[in-house]
Each structure stands twice: as C-alpha cells, then as structure tokens.
Symmetry: C2
Subunit: 584 residues, 2 copies
C-alpha cells in the first residue's frame, strides 16, 4: 500500500465526493431543503465531521486554509455569480449598490469597531487590553456581507429582482472596501505611529483597488473574447478559455493587491456577450454547466469546512464580547440601511419600501470570507477571541437569520420574483422605451444612464464587435437571437415528445407536394391500421419516412479534436437550402 | 507585488494557456496539421521554450515531474480513451490485443534487454559496466508502446477500425505488463541475489496487477452508475461523479500498486451505458465535452513538457548504445508483430494482412510514459545514458515514424476507416446476426464470444439495469435509442435551418385539422405575398404561430441548483399529450 504517493489528489477527491454525496442526500428528502437552507445543513455535516475527527484524534481538526479558500474555492463561486449576473438590474441599481457597498461597509466597520471598543472599556468584562485599532481591524473583517452565504440563502427564497441584486451586488462589491480597510488596519497595527498621510493614502488606495480590479478584469475579459475568435477549428478547447482568463484575472488582481472579486466579476461580465457569440452551442452548454457545477461544489466545500473548522480549541469564549459583537452587527447594519436608503429614496422615483429595507438589513449574512480573514490575522494575544466571535457571528447569521428569512419573507409578503420571464411583447416595449429615453436624455442634455448605455452600445457595435466577434456582419437583434433560442428549445421538446414525426422531413415535399402526399399516406394508413397494431405501424412509418433522408449522416468520421456532429449542421443546412431552391 | 502568494495556480494556468494558444496557433494555418502531426509541433514548441529557459537561466530547464505526469496529466487522457472506446471492435479483438499487449511486450522487453546487453559486451563502446539487469530494466521501460503518442498520431490518419483498435488497445493494456516488469527489475536491481521464487512471484503478480485493476475499475464504475440514479433533483453535479469516480479508481489502483490505466479504462467502460441513461442530455454533453477538452489539454501539456525536458544537461551521449537502442526497438517490434500475427492468423478467418502488420509494427510509438519512468529510476552511474537513449527513441518515433506514417498509409493503400457510420439497416442486420450466432453457439455447445455476450446482456437486463438505472421499466431497444438521438439532432438542425416553421406547432391541429387549416393558410399566403415582402411575412407568420403557444414559458424562475430549462421538457411533453388526447 502506497498511500503517501497519492495522498493529495486522493484526499481532495474524497472531500469533493463527500460534498457531492451530501448534496444528493439532502435532495433525496424533498422536504428538508424547503425548510432549512442547504448552507445550514452543510455546516451541520461539517460540525459532525469535525466532531468525529476531534473525537478520533483528540486534537483540533484541520482548519480551512485561507490560501485554499481564496485561491481555489472562492474564484469559481464569484465567476459563476459574475457570469450569470442579471446585467440590466445590476447596472440600473449600480449607484445604490455602490452606496451600500462602500459607504455602508465603512459605516459598519467604524460603527462596530468603535462600539466594541466602548464595550472593552467596561472593567467587568476584562477586555481592557484590546486596543481601538484591534477592534477596528476586527470590525473591518466582520462588517462585510458575504457573497457565498447571501447567494446560498437568497437563491432559495426568490425575492424580487431588485431586492436580490441590492443585497447580492453589495456583497460582491464590498470586497474592495474590505480588502483596503483590513490591510490598512493590519499595517496600522504593526506601525509604531500613524500619520495622517497614511489615512489619506488609505482612502486613495480604495479607488486604486476597486477601479484597478475592474480594469484588470475587463482587460482579461476582452482578451478572452478576442481569443475565442480563433477557435473555430478547435471547438473542444473553447470552454477552457473562459475559465483560464477569468482565473488569471483573479490571480493577477490578487498579485497586485487589487480586489480579485471585483476583477473576476468585471472579466465575466465583460466577456460574456462576445464569448457567447463566438463559441459553439455545445461549448456554451459546457461552460454554463461546468460553472454551475464548480461553484456548487465550491460552496458545498466551503460550508462543510466552515463546520469542520468550528470544532476545536481555537476559541476564547469571552461571552460578553461575543454577544455584543452579534448585537452590534445587527444594529449597525439596520441603522446603515435605514440611513442610506433614506438618501437613496430621495433621489429615486422607484423607492425601496420599508419591507425591502428590512430584508436588506436582515439578509446581511456573514460567511467564509470573514472566517478566512480572521485566521489570516497576525498572531496576538486576543486572536482566539476574535476567532470565537467571528465563528458565532457566522453561525448566528447563517442558522438563525438564514432559516427565518424565508418565513419572514412570506409573513411580510415581500414582493416576489415574477415566475415567468418577460414575454416578447414586453421585451420589445422595454427596448423601445430604452431608445426613447436615450433620445429624451440626449435632447434635454441630461447625461443619464440611458444616454450612456446608448453611447456604450454604439461604441460596442461600431468598434468592439468588429474586433472581438468572429462573424461580424450586422448586429443580430436580441429579439432574433431570442427567437432562435426558443426555436431550438422547441425543436428539442417536440422531438422528445415525439411530435416531430409529423413534421415534413424531406424539404422538397415541404411547400406544395407534401400536403397531397401526406394525404395519401393518411389514407393508406387507414387501411393498414386495421391489419396492424397502430403503435407498431406508426413506429415503422416514422422510422422509414425520416431515415430515408437522414440516415447517411448517422455520424461523421471520428476525430479527437472535434466532437461528433460539430460541423455537420452547417453543411446540412446548406443542403436543405439547395434542395429548397430546386423545389421552388 | 505579491507573486509568491499566487505562484502555483498562476504558473499552472499560464502553462495551460500556453498549451491552448499553441493549439489554436497550429489550427490557424490549415495546411500545417495535415503534414506534420500535432504532437511533433508541440514537442517543437517545447524545445523552443526549453531553449529559451536554458538560455536565460544557463541551467537545465525543469524536467516534467513524474508524479505530476502520472497523477494529473495521464488520467484525463486515459479516461477519455476508455470512455470513447469503441467497445464492439475492442471486445471482438480482445484476444489479439491481449496477445500483443502481454506476450508482445514481454518479447520486446527481453529482446531489447538481451541484445543491448550483447552490445555492452563490445569493448570499443566502453559500456561493460552496464549489467544485464540494468539492460532489462531499460528494456522494460522502453518496450511499451505509449497510448498518448499512438492516439495523437492514429486519430489523424483514420486507418480502419480493426487496425486502430489493435495498436491502441495494445498501448493501453500493456501498462499492466510494463508496471510489473519495471517494478520487478527495479527491485531485482536492489536485491543482493535473485531467487527463482521471486521470478514466479513476478509472473503471478502480473495477473494480480491486471485483473486487480479491472476489478477496482469495475467496482468504481458500477458505484458511479448507482450514484447517478439519485441525482435527478440536482442535475448540476451529475457530470462531477463521472470524473470523481474514475479518478478515484485510478488513484486507488495506483495506491495498491495495480495498473491505474487498466482500472480507469474498466471504470469508464463499465459506467458509460448506465451513466448515459441516468443523466440528463445537457449533463452528458458536458461530460463528453469536458473529457475531450481535458484530455486535449493534457496531451498538449505532455508533448510540450517532453520538448522542454529534452533540453539540458541530463544526458550522456554514448551514440553506439543510443543508435542500437533505436534499431533494436524497431527490429524486435517488427519480429514480434510478425510472429504473433502468424499465430493469430492461424486461428482467425478474418486475418491481419501484411500491410496491416507493417502499420502495427511501424505504429509502435514511444512517448511520455517511458520518459517519466526513466526519470523515476534509482540513481546509478548510467542513468543519464538511459535518459539520453529514451529521449532519442521518443523523438525518433514521434518525429520520423509519426510524420511518415501518413504517407506510408497512403502509399500502401491501407484500408481506411469507412467515412459514414453503419446505416440503421446494417445495424439491424448486425444485431440479428449476433442473436443468430449466439443461438448457434448455444446449440452447438461452443462457448464463443457471442454466447458470452448474450449471457452478459441477459445478466445486465435482468439484474444490473434494475439496480443501476433510474427509470427501469423495459430495456429500450438500441434502435429506438438511436432513433430518438437522430430525432433530437434532426430537430436542432431543422430549427437552425429555419425549417421548423412549417411544422405544426399547436398539437391539436396535428392529426386531421392541420391539413385543412394549413391548406387555407397557404391560400391566404398567396394573396398576402403579393402585398408584402415574402421574407418579412414569413417571419411574422412564424413568430406569431409559434409564440402563441410557447411564449409563456420563456424561462423558469432562476435557481442556483438547476439549470434553466431542465425540468421543463417533461411537463411540456405531458401538456402536449393531454392536448392531443382532447383533440382526438
């Protein structure tokens, strides 16, 4: 037995397997996931695993490595989030989201930091040695809402799109603020004296970190789009580029101390429309599927590891400090949302209702990012207290808030997401209004979002598309694209329902000839049906009718670099067109 | 700049990116890949990269780590090979393949080992210190035909199916022999004296390694199939299980010193039919696509690394030994094929022609497996000589044999692979003959392959399918399955060619009403067509006709754990059936 040799990949595979099996297990009992969010169940599995490891080894189970978390587990989730981000509501509410993410997070950091410093002054709690700077450092890591936890809970409760994007967008974009404040306070902790220059440098750094992330992300995203222009002959590696470039954008941003999360989101949103146009349908299915799969596994692993890492002896249980941390997290978030929303509502027609405000405040879940950051703290006396407080805050928000938010949403009758997507009619009207508003803004000289959107669209179709898209003739209208997509879906459904049998298969029969010949077939059937089992007959008839035309193309010659049936449809479409022309 | 922190994933990503871009680069110039096999080009890229690294650092570039090769690069390629293995020709020729793989490889090992030992006795070459055991050890690593190299070349030349499976199957299954002989000679080298018991233990070990690999693989494969029974509610992680279980089978086999390659092939072939029946169509596309993508990247990386590792100062250039190694590799392979084929042809009606024999002998390419094994050798005086000889043999076979095999195949007019797949008619006849032969074998009491195949099929449908398949009612005939597949493909093609517009969309119109109503539509069209642009009219008509029925299902509510459009088709099919019944 040579376990040493295969240990690393074997254990990684086993952890992923455990995560996947846990997921299957929950979904076998349909009632469970509808009551308790999956994240809670996974943490619970983690707690049990941790307990078993602790019981067997009699020492603390391994803690989730911060490097593993930030380098391998977080990127797939953020990539998935960025790639499937509904861009319209995101950009419509970008101002509000940024306000929550930047001002709200800073508000929370300082609020929690200063209030906890106040608590530390109470002599009965024996916490006088925790300095203000340490409290602020702790505040900077505990204040940030966690995208992984938010996603896990909010995707199950289906609140309306605007509410979802507000909480989710905030959780993604506050990364830049968290990175800056955390690193700032950490370096302050190690400095002998703090000058006012350092504070200003910190403020400047925030813009560098955020905008730098966007820049890195967009650069890689557009490069990815450009690369997929040239993959026509080698379809099989197309999906790879989506993953490689977005991961590179994340790593590059991290390397330069920029916000990796912001970079990967900018990359994913930047490349999406061009990549989708360039790559084949199957490649696109693979990209989407694999992204979902990967992020799903990643967040399962994160929650399990959260549970595992909770068990052990890393904690200092100073309950007053811990309890006040939870309370201050709740209070300052609620206050922050109230105050910021007050300002937001003054400038918007479409206001955020008080119900929505409550859900935004209540949905501020903390998760694995805080957890990884607290372990990355430099060693000092009270680190274990901070770890304990962070663990309790995470468990409180995920378990208590995570399980009660669904009943609360029901109770408050918060506006839900509409079940069906907008109809074509609605979509036409939305587009029409966009054009109209862009025109109005242009005439009135107001540089609003519609004006900029229109300019961007113009720039896109005039320059970007020509560089980044493979077959650039004319921009296909989104309605035509939607129509093609629906057609394809419908065709598959028809085929699966066995309806296609009645579609004329030989194209020359289509226009006129088909009707007569089909009539004749129907008549002949009538006589035969008495003699034969009708089901069998239908089967035979279908097979004969269709295979006459198509059977010589059952499969192309096998080649490693092309997938079967990859180049066929185009040729076939041409053939159909030629036959059609002859028929006319 | 914090490069240290992200170094590992960053460099891995960059290598993969380089490999992918190299692949794109070759395919941009269409003529290049048709003359030179891709493997040669990639080694060439690797040589240039290695030269650059050597020139810049003035020290040998990093050598491909054997662990990385065996644990991370080889499994995807073998999985891809096993999953897409054409099982019928494989099992039809399993006897011949095993004879080549086992007896042929042993023949080559001893032939090359003893002849090289003879060369070492020539005093002029100054090689007297290379013992017989070392020569045999070298023979054991240089004798084995490499699946990666064979795949890369043979998939581009499209020889007939039998010839392909003979060379390819041999290259896969000889792994068990190589593992045993290599480890045996290695341990003999370290032993003070060799007893005859050890030799017999070696022979016994071969069966353990090979059959153990099959057993481990099948166990994991069937477990994978069983697991996918329960993934109906969580489609998104289905593809994961295919990869996880096959990788686990490989690692487990390696852990117990069994043949990992044989295990992963058994796993892939064992799970394929059940997994395909259980998972959704999209999951299956993802599995296929990702497997192809992964193996494609892996073999690109392997060839690039081969090139990089060639540059440097790891070599001892004793040209007589090196040249004789190349010559003996060629001679012993040719002799082996001739002798073994002579015996094979005596027992088969369908003989292997002399042209085929030549291609089998000529197609015995060596590759990265030898290369990794030679670096795994324990350090001794002449290791660098072995490394040099291995490098030259690999480069010779890949470059000289790899580039000339295509012209030779053309010149000899070797029977090519038929371009089109068998028609339904042919498939029916093949199945019919299978049944007939199974019956004849049963009656005559001959336990031939058809008899066993029939028994296995019976066992499969009576027990295995009931345990492993989700919806087990009745085994769907393969013709019905093929028909469904063709239908689906046809439907997509129709939709893409815009032909679906003429298919009746409202199901109640289908049976009788449709013909009349369609007649009327055609008539009405005639009048309208004069007034309106016919293309526009057709578009409007199509959009109206189809969207009436389908538009309310544009997209389901977004949920993280299901992909859009996953559960829809079933409901839709039901709806269609209900409407149909009403219409009758």
């Amino acid at each position: 037995l040579d376990y040493q040799h295969v240990q690393v990949p074997f254990e990684i595979t086993l952890w992923i397997m455990l995560a996947s099996l846990a997921k299957i297990g929950f979904h076998l009992y349909n009632k469970l996931p509808s009551v308790v969010p999956e994240s809670c169940l996974l943490i619970f599995v983690g707690l049990i695993m941790g307990g078993i490891i602790y019981g067997l080894n009699d020492k603390s189970p391994p803690v989730m490595d911060s490097d593993i978390f930030f380098l391998y587990l977080l990127p797939p989730i953020v990539l998935d989030a960025g790639y499937f981000m509904p861009s319209r509501p995101f950009f419509e509410n970008i101002g509000t989201i940024l306000l929550y993410a930047v001002v709200g997070t800073i508000w929370n950091v300082f609020g929690i930091g200063f209030s906890l410093y106040g608590i530390c002054q109470v002599k009965a709690f024996r916490l006088q040695d925790v300095s203000l700077l340490h409290n602020l450092l702790f505040g900077s890591l505990i204040a940030a809402v966690d995208p992984v936890a938010v996603l896990a809970v909010f995707e199950e409760i289906h609140v309306n799109e605007k509410l979802h994007i507000l909480v989710f967008g905030e959780s993604l974009l506050n990364d830049a603020v968290t990175v800056v404040l955390y690193k700032l306070f950490r370096s302050f902790c190690e400095m002998p004296a703090i000058k006012s220059v350092d504070v200003f440098a910190g403020v400047g750094k925030f813009f560098v970190v955020g905008l730098g992330g966007v820049l890195v992300g967009l650069t890689f995203g557009l490069t990815a789009a450009f690369t997929t222009r040239f993959t026509k002959d080698i379809r099989v590696i197309e999906p790879l580029f989506v993953f490689l470039y977005s991961y590179l954008s994340y790593l590059t941003a991290e390397m330069f101390h920029l916000s990796g999360i912001v970079a990967i989101i900018a990359c994913a949103m930047g490349m999406k429309r061009y990549v989708e146009a360039n790559i084949s349908l199957k490649s696109h299915t693979t990209v989407k599927y694999f992204m979902k799969m990967w992020s799903s596994v990643s967040d399962t692993l994160i929650f399990i590891f959260l549970g595992v890492s909770t068990i052990g002896e890393n904690h200092e249980w100073n309950w007053p400090y811990i309890c006040f941390t939870v309370i201050f997290c709740l209070i300052w978030r609620a206050l922050g949302v109230l105050v910021l929303t007050f300002f937001v509502n003054r400038f918007h027609v479409n206001t955020i209702t008080s119900k929505d405000q409550f859900i935004i405040a209540y949905g501020g879940l903390r998760g694995a990012i805080c957890f990884s950051l607290v372990f990355l703290l430099p060693d000092f006396r009270r680190k274990k207290l901070f770890i304990a407080a962070t663990t309790v805050v995470i468990l409180f928000t995920v378990f208590i808030q995570g399980t009660t938010i669904r009943p609360l949403v029901d109770l408050l009758a918060v506006k839900r997401k509409r079940e069906s997507a907008p109809t074509v009619g609605e979509q036409i009207h939305i587009r029409f209004l966009d054009h109209l508003l862009a025109g109005i803004e242009d005439i009135s000289g107001h540089w609003g979002q519609y004006y900029w959107k229109d300019k961007l669209e113009y720039f896109n179709s005039k320059y970007l598309q020509k560089i980044l898209l493979r077959e650039y003739d004319q921009p296909k209208s989104s309605i035509v694209l939607l129509y093609e997509k629906l057609e394809r879906k419908h065709a598959i459904e028809l085929a699966e329902a066995g309806q296609l049998g009645h579609a004329p298969s030989h194209p020359t029969l289509l226009r006129s000839g088909f009707l007569c010949s089909n009539n004749r077939i129907v008549v002949t059937d009538k006589k035969l049906e008495d003699a034969l089992n009708p089901d069998v007959l239908e089967n035979i008839q279908e097979i004969l009718a269709r295979n006459l035309y198509r059977i010589r193309r059952t499969g192309p010659a096998y080649n490693r670099h092309t997938l079967p049936g990859e180049t066929e449809p185009v040729e076939h479409a041409k053939e159909i067109l030629i036959l059609r022309h002859k028929g006319l």
